[in-house]
């Protein structure tokens, strides 16, 4: 069965330091993969998506993710965390209908 696994439920970083959110996928083919961010009481916002055009994907707000087929990973990174990055982040994949399957989420805390 296809699925995504987010390896960390919580990540705490200091402002200005790098952020790494880990996501592994399980699929028999190259999936379409996404990272979404959810701020408190807000809807899910798309950060970036991988659809096989390029393995390194750049998204909004300075985030990027690299698709590594050999490692079945799609980790999200940002070189320098900002206080406004504090939120919950979801890795997800989609089937041909566009139905999204989400990971359990990673809560990011940014300390001054």
């Amino acid at each position: 069965a296809q699925s995504v696994t987010q390896l960390d439920s919580h990540v705490s970083v200091s402002e200005g330091t790098p952020v790494l959110l880990r996501c592994n996928y399980s699929s028999s083919y190259s999936p379409s993969l996404f990272w979404y961010v959810q701020h408190p009481n807000k809807g899910l916002q798309l950060l970036l998506k991988y659809t096989s055009a390029a393995t390194l994907v750049k998204g909004i707000n300075g985030f990027e993710a690299e698709f590594k087929k050999s490692e079945t990973s799609f980790h999200l990174t940002k070189p320098s965390a900002h206080m406004s990055d504090a939120a919950e982040y979801f890795c997800s994949y989609t089937d041909s209908w566009g139905k999204l399957q989400f990971g359990a989420g990673t809560q990011v805390v940014v300390t001054p």
Binding site: N41, W97, K99, L100, A104
Partner: protein, 119 residues
């Protein structure tokens, strides 16, 4: 409107009460999805519409859950005889395209959700 709009934002229901949650997708969006997000969890797929046709309802947890999109725009998710385990945030999303692999813009836009609390 500019985005996906859901109403009400918050709903408190007594156990056994019926509720109806509304979703106004972005105008012209063909696809509409409902998700359920329990506290501390990722969203879980409930059902999918392509225009007015409900093509996938495999995620609906029981026959107490019913969704419709009669004119291919606004959708309503109805929960009958609510139970405490139905307490969650219900998210609606819409997207423009029919098929992901087409390469067209298939980004799903989410509403802010309806937080349902069953007491």
């Amino acid at each position: 409107g500019a985005g996906v709009s859901q109403s009400p934002r918050y709903k408190v229901a007594k156990r056994g009460q019926d509720v109806a949650l509304r979703c106004d997708p972005i105008s012209g969006h063909v696809s509409l999805f409902w998700y359920q997000q329990a506290l501390g969890q990722g969203p879980e797929f409930l059902t999918y519409f392509q225009n007015e046709a409900q093509l996938d309802k495999s995620g609906l947890p029981s026959d107490r859950f019913f969704a419709e999109r009669p004119e291919g725009s606004v959708s309503t998710l109805k929960i009958q005889r609510t139970q405490q385990e139905d307490s969650a945030v219900y998210l609606c999303a819409s997207s423009l395209s029919l098929i992901v692999e087409s390469g067209a813009n298939t980004e799903a836009f989410f509403g802010q959700g309806t937080r349902l609390t069953v007491v």
